[in-house]
């Protein structure tokens, strides 16, 4: 049985069951895990098995990439449910699953009201994400792209903190608006393909071979780029991220930071570089400029924040600047550096958000001015926070440094100036990370605080797993590099175009 459709549909079905379970046996006590939590856990475990089967199972060689599944959906328009999996999407799906396990184990404390609905939206977002990573039919890709937003909007709007409505609305408006621009360029591409070859199809592989004039290809590429730039926050359009993160509940912000930002990066690799290679190379200088601007700007603003989550949000903008830089250097090294950076950033920022969420649950505040030093009260949590802060500032030996080093090396090949500016970003990263550590972890504890429980050893175990992953990514990234290399597009036209000729 082909694992791909199961991979996509399983979470949404699990979500439904979780919702029902949430209603059938409402939460008895806050600490005890209610039924819907168990359902979510079971869904995730089954999902992992399917993913293992997809990863190590015998590759079904009907499509150009290892995993392939195709089912006609709207034959008249040439739209088919095409799911293809290559190394890149597989590694990002593995990252998503780790994020979900992280959320399930660590960030479930404050979800007491409507737990079932929360879990359903959580798993629906996961479906959207996995769909986005697998879909190779442009229409299906757009469908999952929008599907991702709605539950996340619900999560932020319903379970967020004080100013959640505005943040959720801002998040939705930004991503939705840019998504529509992407739809325009998808349609533009399909129509130009149809005019030239008479074949109406949304299939990624056949569309990749449409001969385009430089102006048209640049235009279409920009359409895609804007959508992914908003998602992977590139500086001028990053405005939604800090608000969305500060107001989102911990699980939502882990998911948001962990994976949703990566869909932007994934989209850029898949739909900008590989679909419009020449336009991308022409656009590269501007994109790299934006990347460097993102790095410096994100780090600069992270330094000035007083809100922990906002600081982490700006730091992820800075990290994503590296990803953008890496993708548009044009060399495979830059691409792999960007992918490693995405994986490492996912892990480290999710860790930081869980720590920030834990602090907020215990102290009911995110303002660094009134969170005194926590090392005395919560050594384990502070230790984890310190570790993830070190990863965030790019300590060699941890995943982020590997990604950043490869990106910088690839950029240096292109031209030394952006690389030097990006390296200056590293200094700024050290400044804001250490400033955070010295304001909430290694600082004089605030008087008048009632004793606060430290992280349970079980949760510390989960933290430890994430730390091990980060160290592994930092010290022995070679398997990850070979495993997540995006396969190049097959040069010959796809075997039998999926699209129906009208």
């Amino acid at each position: 049985m082909n694992p791909l459709p199961a991979l996509v549909l399983l979470p949404i079905m699990g979500g439904g069951v979780a919702w029902v379970a949430g209603h059938v046996r409402p939460r008895v006590t806050t600490t005890s895990r209610d039924a819907s939590w168990w359902v979510v856990l079971v869904t995730l475990i089954v999902e992992t098995f399917v993913l293992v089967m997809a990863t190590f199972g015998h590759p079904v060689h009907t499509g150009p990439w290892p995993g392939h599944f195709s089912m006609p959906w709207i034959p008249a328009m040439g739209i088919a449910v095409r799911l293809d999996m290559d190394g890149l999407s597989l590694s990002l799906i593995w990252l998503s699953l780790i994020m979900c396990f992280l959320c399930v184990f660590l960030a479930t404390r404050q979800v007491t009201v409507h737990a079932g609905a929360f879990r359903f939206l959580f798993l629906a977002t996961l479906t959207g994400i996995i769909g986005t990573f697998l879909a190779t039919d442009l229409f299906l890709f757009f469908f999952f792209w929008e599907l991702m937003l709605v539950p996340m909007f619900g999560l932020i709007a319903a379970w967020g903190h004080e100013d959640r409505q505005r943040a959720a609305m801002k998040f939705f408006m930004f991503t939705q608006g840019s998504g529509l621009i992407m739809l325009l360029s998808i349609l533009g591409l399909v129509i130009t393909h149809y005019r030239q070859t008479g074949v109406l199809t949304f299939d990624y592989f056949t569309l990749a071979h449409t001969p385009l004039s430089p102006a048209v290809s640049m235009l279409l590429m920009l359409g895609f780029f804007i959508a992914f730039a908003v998602k992977l926050p590139v500086v001028p359009v990053h405005v939604w991220l800090p608000d969305a993160h500060t107001q989102a509940p911990t699980a939502a912000s882990v998911l948001l930071a962990g994976i949703l930002l990566k869909t932007g990066g994934y989209g850029m690799i898949r739909f900008n570089i590989m679909l419009f290679p020449d336009a991308a190379s022409r656009f590269a200088p501007i994109a790299m400029g934006l990347g460097v601007a993102g790095i410096v700007y994100g780090a600069w603003l992270a330094y000035a924040q007083d809100d922990v989550k906002r600081l982490i949000a700006y730091s992820s903008i800075s990290h994503m600047g590296f990803v953008l830089l890496g993708i548009f250097t044009g060399s495979r090294m830059g691409m792999q550096g960007a992918i490693i950076q995405m994986l490492a950033h996912g892990l480290s920022t999710a860790g930081l958000f869980v720590v920030a969420g834990a602090i907020q649950d215990r102290l009911h505040t995110r303002d660094m001015r009134c969170i005194g030093g926590l090392w005395a009260a919560m050594p384990r949590l502070s230790g984890a926070g310190l570790f993830f802060a070190m990863a965030a500032l790019g300590m060699p030996g941890l995943g982020n440094f590997t990604g950043e080093f490869l990106v910088l090396l690839a950029t240096w090949h292109v031209s030394p100036l952006p690389a030097i500016l990006a390296a200056v970003g590293l200094v700024l990263a050290a400044i804001y990370a250490l400033r955070m550590v010295n304001r909430i972890f290694l600082a004089a504890p605030r008087t008048g605080l009632q004793p606060v429980p430290d992280v349970a050893s079980r949760q510390m175990a989960v933290f430890a797993c994430v730390m091990v992953f980060l160290v592994l990514l930092g010290v022995y990234p070679q398997p990850f590099v070979t495993f997540s290399a995006p396969l190049p597009l097959p040069v010959a036209a796809m075997t039998g175009p999926e699209g129906a000729t009208p």
Partner: protein, 655 residues
């Protein structure tokens, strides 16, 4: 067999660090101390065994172990690989042995401190990172150690985090070193782009047979030099080291005297082939070293805080090493590095013991007259001081300084065709520095140990702390024997040890050169005795003395400049832009449009008042157009339908 032992050197301290930090609450203080010392001790033993093995083998072979391929990407490949050759052998011995002694001392020193687990966790992690830095045969792998060492120094300086000044000093140290690291990283990127790999062997081979254009060789050397300068707190980056004294004394001894600050020197020593090709960078390094040497000595001369004196003296001794490196005699630099590690660690540890017993009093003027209360410590401190000053024949410092002086004397920089910088002026500065060194260290000795009795000393130094002091005394006094200047019996064990090929001895070395090097420290001792040794301190009578000393004393000179030039404007700028400009812009435009429509409404209302009631209806219409439009009056709708009809017909009529 070596392949297994070499990684163990790194693994032992790492495992010890993990065990200690994970077991934060559960292990007792002495248990933690023993685990830490065991970890470092084991690696010391292994490094000794490996050194013996290496020395027994042929001179040129080196033990290279590739653990696993780190990055294999087209265009760049790096792997986690460690090499033990003569140079890294010397450094690994220094790091592990001095580290072990300091750990034993720290076990006693920090026994009653609640955060001992975190302390030893960081210390052993530091040793592990330092060992990685030393043994790495791949520059990128060395970079891991380089940053790890910076991180541990940050954690240890800010160990007592209750006082914000400590954490501020820690952050300052990390920022300064981080700037240097970024420069070093750019240098590595440059080399990696040019040679496709960062293995030292390939890089040096590529540089020596001229694959790189001269400009990029100079650029790479300059960038690496900046990295080394930041790490070793030389001229532009020297402000962080005196503040780093905020950490516990064993930290200062290990990190800020013996190992971390000398990492830059070690790196340049290893890449001396690269630097040899970059003459202007060498000249700049030599001049910079000389300047730092002088500045450090002057600053130390006027400090009143015991640990700050030692900090400034470390900076000036590092200046010596950079001067030696600049003049190409990197063997002398390494030798001085080794002896410096011994006597500076000794001085710091003794100072720590003195401060602890004097009720945490660090001001030398209030200490006074302690030689009766703690004779042992006095003897240790005097031994260290004499080694630092370089008293002839009897101390290690003398031999290493002598080696540097002779090296500097013979160097000649052919910078440009006609203008070259000969070594003589630098030699003169180095000699003056030696005199000042002897002056300030013996000033400190006389004020603290001789003179009238200051604070009352309490308790005794525990045996655990005195053993390392003893060992360090022996090392710092006898350490120099293995490398004699030529005039004395020809004994060049150390330089032979490093690279047997190149005979260092200069046949025509004038005899007075060595004599000068011997007399100057004695002169410094004499002058110090005259000024501070006798009962009534002559220093106080010299008029105007306060004017000179006060600006230099607080040592804030460069700090204030940096603060005013860099930090203040940066903080102001950050505060100004604390609101996200882009976010501000977008929310701003939102607010702007609302204000505009309200403004428009107010203006409209003003004009319409004059008209009849229907006109006021129109004004309300302007405010909320759709609401006003659907006002529920049937005839209003009919009227609009009729208007529509007329309009339609008008179009027909007119077209």
């Amino acid at each position: 067999m070596g392949e297994i032992l070499l990684p163990l050197i790194i693994l032992c301290p790492l495992v010890a660090s993990l065990v200690v930090s994970v077991s934060a609450g559960r292990m007792g203080a002495c248990a933690i101390g023993t685990v830490a010392c065991a970890g470092v001790g084991l690696s010391a033993v292994i490094s000794v065994i490996l050194s013996v093995m290496l020395l027994s083998g042929p001179a040129t072979d080196a033990l290279r172990v590739v653990l696993w391929p780190w990055m294999r990407i087209e265009g760049f490949s790096a792997d986690i690989a460690f090499t033990l050759d003569r140079v890294s052998m010397v450094m690994i011995l220094v790091v592990t042995i001095v580290g072990l002694l300091i750990h034993v001392y720290a076990a006693g020193y920090m026994r009653d401190d609640p955060g001992i687990a975190r302390f030893f966790g960081c210390m052993t992690l530091f040793v592990a990172a330092m060992v990685v830095l030393v043994l790495a045969s791949d520059l990128l792998c060395m970079f891991i150690g380089w940053e790890g060492v910076g991180l541990c120094s940050y954690l240890l300086i800010g160990f007592w985090y209750d006082d914000p000044a400590n954490t501020a000093a820690a952050r300052k140290a990390f920022y300064m070193t981080r700037m240097g690291d970024v420069a070093l990283l750019c240098g590595l990127l440059l080399l990696a782009t040019a040679t496709g790999s960062l293995r030292m062997g390939t890089v040096l081979a590529a540089v020596t047979d001229g694959q790189l254009p001269p400009f990029s060789v100079n650029a790479a050397a300059a960038l690496i030099l900046v990295g080394a300068l930041a790490k070793s707190a030389q001229i532009p980056f020297q402000t962080w080291l005196p503040d780093a004294m905020a950490g516990p004394t064993p930290t200062s001894a290990l990190i800020h005297a013996a190992t971390m600050v000398t990492a830059g020197v070690y790196l340049i020593a290893r890449l001396h082939d690269l630097f040899a090709m970059a003459a202007p960078v060498m000249a700049f390094m030599a001049v910079l070293g000389a300047l730092t040497l002088l500045m450090g000595a002057c600053k130390a001369l006027v400090q009143s805080d015991l640990k700050r004196i030692l900090a400034w003296s470390t900076i000036s001794q590092l200046g010596y090493m950079f001067l030696a490196l600049g003049c190409g005699v990197w063997q002398a630099a390494l030798f001085h590095l080794m002896t410096h590690a011994f006597f500076k660690a000794l001085l710091f540890l003794t100072a720590g013991a003195v401060i602890m017993r004097a009720g945490h009093e660090q001001d030398i003027f209030r200490l006074g007259g302690l030689r009766h209360a703690m004779p042992g410590l006095t003897m240790a401190f005097v031994a260290g001081a004499s080694a630092l000053a370089g008293l002839p024949l009897v101390t290690a410092g003398f031999y290493s300084k002598e080696m540097i002086l002779s090296g500097v004397w013979h160097v000649h920089f052919g910078l440009t065709r006609e203008w070259g910088l000969s070594g003589h002026p630098l030699w003169g500065i180095a000699l003056l520095g030696a005199f000042l060194t002897a002056l300030y260290i013996f000033r400190c000795v006389f004020i603290v140990f001789c003179g009238k009795a200051g604070t009352r000393a309490v308790g005794r130094t525990s045996r655990l702390m005195s053993i390392p002091l003893g060992c360090l005394c022996v090392l710092s006094l006898s350490g120099g024997v293995i490398e004699m200047p030529d005039t004395l019996p020809r004994l060049h064990l150390f330089s032979a040890l490093l690279d047997p090929g190149v005979p260092l001895s200069h046949a025509d070395e004038p005899i007075w050169l060595v004599l000068a090097g011997a007399i100057v420290p004695l002169a410094g001792l004499g002058v110090a005795w005259v000024l501070w040794g006798r009962r009534v301190s002559v220093m106080r009578e010299i008029p105007g003395q306060a004017a000179i000393i006060r600006p230099a004393r607080d040592g804030r000179g460069m700090d204030v400049v940096y603060d005013r030039v860099f930090v203040q404007p940066l903080c102001l700028l950050v505060w100004l832009t604390r609101l996200d400009i882009a976010d501000h812009a977008i929310t701003g435009t939102g607010r702007l449009t609302r204000a505009a429509s309200a403004g428009m409404f107010r203006a409209r209302a003003g004009v319409v008042d004059m008209l009849a009631i229907r006109a006021t209806g129109m004004a309300r219409w302007a405010d909320h157009l759709p609401g006003q439009f659907q006002n529920g009056r049937v005839r209003w709708y009919a009227a609009w339908i009729a208007t529509g009809l007329c309009a339609g017909l008008a179009m027909v009529v007119l077209s």
